[in-house]
Symmetry: C3
Subunit: 339 residues, 3 copies
């Protein structure tokens, strides 16, 4: 059994500030999908695809839209936005973990570091000179936080994270294991076939409420800083090169790569595996679908794609031969159909 907290439904309704219909005393000890919810689980309905599941769900109670309330006969929590309400509810069902507080005796914290109230630093972690950790910052085990870096109030840094020198991170960041922030940008001058390194003198500037997924890298700028706006959410194994700028509340999904000096606007959704070449500019409110290559600037909001779609390999092999003949074929045809 998991040591999850339990609630009566009335308490949850109050915590979530939503209307309750049904038994206020029913006991809720977990959160589950409609299909898997048991007699002590809260569930949620937000997508007509799951209407069948709703009909037969054994959930103790369901979060549901006020306008669809009559679709479920059992106990319910009524809200304008069931998915948002589920997101909020989820945090009440996180198992409590005793991860320790304070500074682990095996951490090495430079005497010049400035630590706020309720800062915790994990086993084996190195905090270099002049680092500033604001109130409530938590750093996991075996991390390195470089000289002069500043981390804002309430930010949570997981285990094995590397943050280089003079990086600035805002409030309430969540940074997962294996992340590397502030490593040198990939900049060289080529002369006579040999590459000469350009010192990367800029840094990385990250706003508030940013999430950065496991093993993601964000390089420091060459002269100016690499900039990540407020509310930006970055998934695992994303690569952000030097001097990239990402606007507020933009989402970048797993394994995408943004090359040097590219600019991404606000409220964009960059799906997984997308590549964005260097110096490209993308305006606000752009969606790029999975594994597309953005090889030119996007000046107009909307959705953009590249690729061929999936085929059976034996069909695909025939079509890619034709792809390579497209231009010559079109020219041949134009001879016949000239206007």
């Amino acid at each position: 059994m998991k040591n999850l907290p339990t609630y009566d439904l009335a308490s949850l309704a109050e915590l979530l500030q939503v209307e309750l219909q049904g038994d206020p005393a029913i006991r809720i000890s977990g959160l589950a999908t409609l299909a898997k919810a048991g007699q002590e689980d809260l569930s949620f309905y937000h997508n007509p695809l799951y209407f069948q599941n709703l009909q037969v769900s054994k959930a103790a109670a369901v979060i549901i839209s006020s306008v669809e309330a009559d679709k479920f006969a059992g106990n319910k929590l009524l809200t304008d936005d069931p998915y948002l309400c589920y997101a909020k509810a989820s945090h009440y069902f996180k198992k409590h973990r005793d991860t320790g507080t304070g500074i682990a005796p095996t951490a090495k914290v430079h005497s010049s570091a400035k630590l706020g109230k309720d800062v915790s630093i994990g086993h084996g972690t190195l905090i270099e000179q002049d680092v500033t950790l604001a109130d409530g910052v938590s750093i996991g085990a075996n991390c390195c936080i470089g000289q002069g870096t500043i981390i804002g109030e309430g930010s949570q840094i997981d285990n094995l994270v590397t943050i280089a020198h003079e990086v600035s991170i805002g409030k309430r960041a969540t940074i997962y294991a294996g992340v590397v922030i502030g490593s040198d940008g990939f900049g060289f001058a080529r002369a006579k076939g040999v590459y000469h390194k350009i010192a990367q003198l800029g840094s990385v500037n990250i706003g508030d409420d940013v999430e950065i997924g496991a093993n993601t890298c964000i390089d420091r700028g060459a002269l100016d800083d690499t900039v990540i706006g407020n509310g930006v959410k970055i998934d695992n194994q994303v690569q952000i090169a030097h001097n990239v700028q990402v606007g507020d509340n933009t989402v970048i999904c797993g394994c995408s790569a943004v090359a040097g000096s590219a600019t991404i606007g606000r409220n964009c959704v960059i799906a997984g595996g997308v590549g964005i070449i260097n110096h490209v500019e993308i305006v606000d409110n752009v969606t790029v679908t999975a594994m597309s290559l953005v090889n030119q600037s996007i000046r107009k909001a909307g959705s953009y794609s590249s690729g061929t779609g999936l085929s059976e390999t034996h069909e695909w092999k025939k079509n890619i031969v034709r792809f390579r003949q497209l231009d010559s074929m079109t020219k041949t045809l134009k001879k016949y159909f000239s206007k």
Copy 2:
């Protein structure tokens, strides 16, 4: 000189349980390709491409198929499956490394952790509360193993690995450096342009005999678990998102990414750089070729591909212009060739 073990050919034949033809006393101190093998090396022949190399190989002995035995005049080990026999033989030529055993004095192991027999834990590693390490588990240096995680018998965890709380890993796993297992899935509810984090309450459940390559990430589930079947082999820098399910004996090659709630069947081969979008289902025995995007479910076993194939850039630039005109061109043509 490397301190490799040496064998006479008869001993190797016995260890590998195969038939020997030739000199049983010949000394074998290494394993090499046909082209590079010297007078004390064992080699193997499994592919007609290397027939020339076989003819002139200086190998002390060659692993060869019984039905092709007459193709090589020298000493040989006869087997049904030379490549499998080479795989088995390779383990007898691993150099012995004194990596130490037992618990390094600089490791921090919580008093509530349950350790089996012959467990080794490397320098600087953190083992949190209620972790269970079965007999013969080996954990490298500077790792973090989170609260309540269970690791099965004989599993080998390399250096700098992060495994979060309450993850379950089966027997005989091999997990390489930089891997992150059980980091939060990438889940948010968007409301008024702002993303609200959804607590990731599920975990990761990994079967027996799984290999996970360096810097790969496997996220924990949102409500249910992310599940990796028995015998699954995952290469480096692969991204497995929350609630993905991977069937037994499936292979996923380097830099592939599987988005949330995708399901991959058994005995599949996902080549390198493949993207699989969220909620897609792939049946058993499917091959996806390199860098393909699986943007729809695959209901039938077989091989699938996307992309255009490679061209010289100046030709490619002309053809991609035509690709963008394909639909309008086809419509124009249909006016002329209407059935």
Copy 3:
């Protein structure tokens, strides 16, 4: 204020060995783009795109080509190659960091390790048996350097780097955080649906003056070594599989993946997100553009590409349907236009 060093322009001209025109005594305390440079900043002009910026730049002095010297009226440093001169100048403006020298007391260095002069080893780092670190090698915090590995003179290894056993790294390498070198290649023999691991008996051999970006992986060879030539520059999150060979002075940009036994020549430029399949050979002086798949050998120097280019998603959806009809459409047309 940053504690950057300051120079008078005459000193910089001497350090960079270039001709000065203007005020030799002017004080230079930073390096900036033409647009952002202030009254104490040095800047550089190398691209006609920035001619407007040059005209209005407030820079104290500008690095400029001798043949274009008359385009800027202010103080200047004259050179044949302004971008190269900027690269060299950049190193004079790196802020001094007190990262400490010598062996951190929390590092664990095996007594058999051979350390040259001026070697520094960071907090928590593990140096195994028989490691050789030449003069001036610097290893960051929480790294692991495996048994028998050799690192050449002046090489700089960042924090949280994992280098496995018996790897060889040349002089003046720069290796960033999260890198994993010498992890096992992904090699199995399949028999009756089950994968049998092949021990990876080779190693990794890295030349001089190599840069390896954050979270990149380079696997050890199966029998022979994986080989990275002199002057090779590898960006972040690149995957180099077992037995790959990369020729001198080749550049591999972020998130590219090179599959097993592929060979890349000298002076190549592999852009970001490129995939190169196994056993492919690429000659010298080849450029592969971003996110291309190299699924066949490249025998001739030049630039190569794949993909479709970017479209608006609603247009793209129509065109990918036609892509899948290309072969049949072409055959239909050929019936009408047969030669």
